[in-house]
Symmetry: C2
DNA sequence: CAGTGGTCTAGACCACTGG
DNA sequence: CAGTGGTCTAGACCACTGC
């Protein structure tokens, strides 16, 4: 491992007026190296990574330094520590993180996310990106994307109408049929079949009225206010990998947010 | 400091079938003690707390253990570390954390939170808690509360209509006049005059239609969908200290959320 | 320059898991 | 029981702030 501090200082006196030399602690460099291994798929979602001791040997640093790097990656939900077992690459395939990005909860006490929400695909096909979809996904207008629309029902009641766009490149080979046949969590499919793990997401929320088609699918009148949730999901390197536009009914559910 | 591990194990064999003995690490105990000092006002918002070395001496543990406790409190935004200066009690009075709990952003690029949002108090008075307000604030129906309604304008456009309830007890002495005259961030007033620091908050979000009064104040038609944001804010010991019900216009603004 | 938080190390021991 | 992560300590040194 390179020594801490500035890597190979060119001269003793830095040129004044330039940006600060940006001191980077050792554990941050280790964090970067681990992140790189994650991106490159050296360790896949759900798998164990080497023990802290092994990583320390590999990077030629102390175990405490590796620990601090892993601590931060675990805080970002990229890794999961399990005492006595090891450290694992986080995944969307586990039961307790199924709906990690879904903030809609039923008003009444118990979580109905268990009754795993009947999913109906309304539409699903390959097409070319419109200007705004392209911009959100970091593509050029006209680039191939996979588009899909589905309806989620809770206890039989249509509650979420969701449009989804995926970039054609990273998801090459994903067919409309495959997507519609699959019945697990969508993000788990992306991981196992395309090596794309969604790490974080941004959401923009508005109150809107549905158009006729949306109202009909959600079984509400044209004057019913709905929550519009536009989500962009990103993978490791902050590259956008998914755009979702959801319409949520909030007569029996609400969007919950915790401010720390 | 008490020794780590279970405090004074009663017998060698624990009674089976009971809850686990709940091993509590030293640094967690230290964290609790610091939290206690914060609650009791030993160190007030904005003030420095003793150095890590001093705290280590006070609690009879190593500096590293204090560090881990302070690290967690800093991660929770209860403390703020500043290299070379010391560790400070977090506060809402600083410029860059003014609107820490407000997630509404303008659609167009620049943040207009700077043009500090003209505030108009529509109403403000003492009254008795209704059943639902009492439940949210952990009071009994009929207990005294301070109620207030205000309108926030961005660039002259009425955008947020907000009702607010405060428990009468902790805010004894707060008059409607004082609240209406004050022109800084509200949470800063609560800290400096009543020793109540808001630490975290929960929000429930829905899409709704305004009634006539609301529509008139927000200058929208009756059919305009609005974001309903119900916030409960908590202080150190997780005691609810404020209930807000906001109506947000989302034609020029949106509610932004980051999912980690 | 003294005092603060920030990094790094090395080693001991504890708690938990699985074979 | 061996191997993993989790805690705790002690000490050295670095980076930053303010006097």
């Amino acid at each position: 491992m390179v020594s801490p501090g500035r890597p190979a200082p060119p001269t003793d006196a830095e040129p004044a007026g330039l940006a600060a030399p940006a001191f980077s602690p050792l554990y941050q460099q280790i964090k970067g190296l681990i992140l790189q291994s994650l991106q490159q798929g050296e360790w896949k979602p759900g798998e164990v990574i080497p023990s802290e001791f092994d990583l320390a040997a590999r990077y030629k640093v102390s175990q405490g330094t590796v620990r601090k790097a892993v601590d931060e990656l675990a805080a970002d939900h990229l890794l999961v520590r399990r005492q006595g077992r090891g450290t694992f690459v986080a995944t969307h395939a586990e039961q307790h993180v199924q709906y990690r990005f879904l903030r809609l909860h039923p008003d009444s006490g118990t979580v109905d996310n268990e009754g795993p929400a009947q999913r109906d695909f309304v539409d699903c096909r390959r097409q070319r990106a419109s200007a705004d979809v392209a911009r959100a996904l970091g593509l050029r207008a006209g680039d191939p994307v996979l588009q899909s629309r589905r309806l989620l029902r809770f206890a039989g009641v249509p509650t979420i109408l969701e449009d989804l766009w995926l970039p054609g490149g990273p998801f090459k080979g994903l067919t409309a049929e495959r997507l519609m046949q699959y019945h697990g969590p969508m993000y788990a499919l992306f991981e196992s079949e395309f090596g794309v793990r969604m790490v974080r997401a941004d959401e923009k929320i508005r109150a809107v009225l549905p158009d006729e088609g949306q109202a009909s699918l959600l079984d509400v009148t044209l004057g019913t206010p709905l929550l519009s949730v536009e989500r962009t999901a990103y993978t490791y390197n902050d590259a956008p990998m998914e755009l979702r536009r959801g319409l949520y009914r909030t007569d029996t559910h609400h969007y919950r947010n915790q401010l720390g």
